[in-house]
């Protein structure tokens, strides 16, 4: 019986427990030894199939035993007996194979010993016939596994892989890469062989070949086989990745199609907004009343500021975020034109950081700047008063963005209260800041007007992942 062959090391600190456990193990037909982990020589460990110890011994010798197990050529099972169930996980993590709770139940112990000793026996069988086992692993693989010399001649090659990947009728051993591969693939592999020989590092690459059912794709890994400190051959594994490649191409094509659709959607949204602007133009062209014409112009500018976001998104590489600074600059240009601002009378300047934001931030920012700048241009400089408008965009600490709009015009009326203001523009600014940007608005109206809006940078995440 196999169990006659097994020797079990019993390492228990308490001599009574050690004796009881040893007697039980012997009664199962196994031999018992008491090696000292610090002193025992390698050949003493070689005859041991399993170690069972208690926690007290483990605290002194646990690491050493795991080391011995890791260096053992054949599987060596390590079992520990613990006082509390809670300790089991830590022992398993440290490299032990199993942990049993004290007091040891005989039936349970017998079952565990048999399980681990059976694994030991299988490992012994494997060690005795290693070559046959590895050969069977290689031969049964549907990947092509091979050895090549520097000249690209096959020294070894598994038949199943030869047939599956290269449709070879006879063995490739002794033949050149060129007999198995098309010229392009063979040249590529020759280049990679040289690289692996020179660098002594593995290389992974892909190539394609024409098969009977169309183009097939292969992923090849070449690695150096070192003997006496020099590379004497190149090992290789070639895998047919056609299905993966086709799926990848389909995903890429689908993604491209979605990008095109999204771009088109942005473009059409902008176009529709342009049509609304055109309608407003037509509608207002017969109006003579200046106040009504101004209302139309303000509405047009609001729509234009939104249309511009869609234009920017259409142009954006990632289709999801735009450069807020660049957008504000374009908006200032648009508004200066719309209000026919002469730069020698009112100078508009901007100091804008490069900050990328999503549409959720860009639209309200655009509308806010539209209102604030329109207000400046309409009211801050009455008559032909000369002045200056400054716009700032800054990223502050804590992922906060600040927009500043400042002029040196006549300022706000005394006792100005934004909550009681009848100006649609300023109420829009207040509400967009509070509800859409989740930000704060502050302003002063002495010696000109200054508005500051601060809001968190990552609005989109905040909305999608509340």
């Amino acid at each position: 019986m196999a169990q006659d062959l097994h020797t079990i090391a019993v390492l228990f600190s308490n001599s009574v427990d050690r004796k009881l456990l040893s007697d039980f193990i012997v009664s199962l037909g196994y031999r018992v030894r008491y090696p000292n982990p610090d002193l025992a020589k390698p050949d003493e460990w070689a005859e041991i199939s399993l170690v069972i110890m208690d926690e007290a011994v483990g605290r002194r010798h646990g690491k050493r035993l795991v080391e011995i197990k890791n260096h053992s050529e054949i599987f060596l099972a390590l079992l520990v007996a613990v006082q509390k169930k809670g300790a089991i996980a830590a022992w398993l993590k440290s490299g032990f194979d199993d942990a049993l709770q004290l007091p040891l139940a005989k039936g349970e112990l017998r079952r565990r010993l048999r399980t681990f000793l059976r694994i030991r026996e299988q490992a012994e069988q494997l060690a005795n016939d290693k070559e046959a086992v590895y050969r069977s692993l290689v031969e049964s693989s549907s990947d092509h596994i091979f050895l090549l010399n520097r000249e690209g001649i096959f020294l070894a090659s598994n038949k199943r892989g030869e047939k599956a990947l290269l449709n070879a009728d006879k063995t490739l051993i002794g033949s050149s890469l060129r007999t198995a591969y098309c010229p392009e693939a063979a040249n590529l592999i020759y280049d990679q062989i040289e690289k692996v020989f020179e660098s002594r590092r593995p290389a992974t690459f892909e190539h394609s070949m024409q098969g009977v059912d169309g183009t097939r794709y292969y992923q090849v890994t070449l690695f150096p086989v070192v003997r006496d400190r020099s590379v004497w051959a190149i090992g290789g594994i070639s895998r047919d990745v056609t299905r993966l490649k086709v799926a990848e191409d389909q995903i890429k094509a689908s993604l491209k199609e979605k990008e095109v659709l999204l771009r088109e959607l942005y473009h059409r949204t902008k176009n529709n907004m342009q049509v609304i602007i055109a309608l407003l133009h037509l509608q207002s062209s017969n109006i003579k009343d200046k106040g009504t014409i101004d209302l139309f112009r303000e509405t047009e500018n609001r729509i234009k500021s939104m249309a511009m976001v869609h234009e920017k998104l259409y142009q954006a590489k990632n289709l999801s975020s735009i450069d807020l600074g660049e957008y504000i600059r374009d908006l200032l240009h648009l508004l200066s034109g719309s209000y026919r601002i002469r730069p020698e009378v009112v100078a508009v300047s901007a100091d804008l950081d490069r900050i990328f934001v999503t549409i959720d931030t860009a639209i309200p920012c655009g509308l806010i700047i539209n209102e604030l700048i329109s207000n400046c241009l309409k009211y801050a400089f009455p008559g032909n008063m000369r002045g200056e408008v400054r716009v700032g965009l800054t990223r502050k600490e804590g992922s906060v963005i600040e927009i500043m709009v400042k002029d040196n015009g006549v300022g706000l009326p005394q006792n100005f209260d934004i909550d009681k203001s009848k100006s649609l523009g300023l109420r829009t600014v207040k509400n967009l800041t509070k509800y859409q940007l989740k930000g704060e608005l502050s302003f002063t109206g002495h010696k000109g007007t200054e508005f500051r809006i601060r809001f968190p940078e990552h609005l989109r995440e905040a909305r999608v992942w509340p």
Partner: protein, 128 residues
């Protein structure tokens, strides 16, 4: 710049109508807008406009840039392109058309007025 004849080639009719109205208010004589290159060529032969305002993307088989080239071989030289796509390839193609300007939509009455002044003003037509 009164009494100069302008032709609008634009497939979005409301945009075309809006531009027509704005130009009429600025004193130009504006032909009824057309939406294809083929119709533009026919109308231009008959009416001989001084300036053509041309959308790059049109209904029909010809785009605005091809239509402009045909018009120029017939002797109509001044073209103001309009494009909704701020796309380098399109902008480069329009630059290769002589005596032309390109405006990116939305094109307002002021932008168009300035462009007309620029392209008509005393031989300052833009030759690229």
């Amino acid at each position: 710049m009164p009494n100069l004849k302008v032709m609008i080639v634009e497939d979005e009719i409301l945009t075309a109508m809006s531009l027509q109205k704005a130009l009429e208010m600025q004193g130009y004589e504006v032909l009824e807008p057309v939406d294809t290159g083929e119709e533009a060529i026919k109308l231009a032969k008959r009416e001989r406009p001084s300036v053509v305002i041309m959308d790059v993307l049109l209904n029909g088989r010809m785009d605005g840039i091809e239509t402009a080239r045909v018009l120029q071989t017939g002797g109509f030289t001044r073209i103001i392109f309009m494009t909704g796509y701020q796309d380098n390839e399109i902008l480069e193609r329009t630059k290769r058309v002589k005596s032309s300007l390109c405006l990116v939509k939305p094109v307002g009455p002021d932008d168009l007025g300035k462009a007309l002044d620029q392209i008509l003003d005393k031989g300052k037509a833009v030759d690229s």
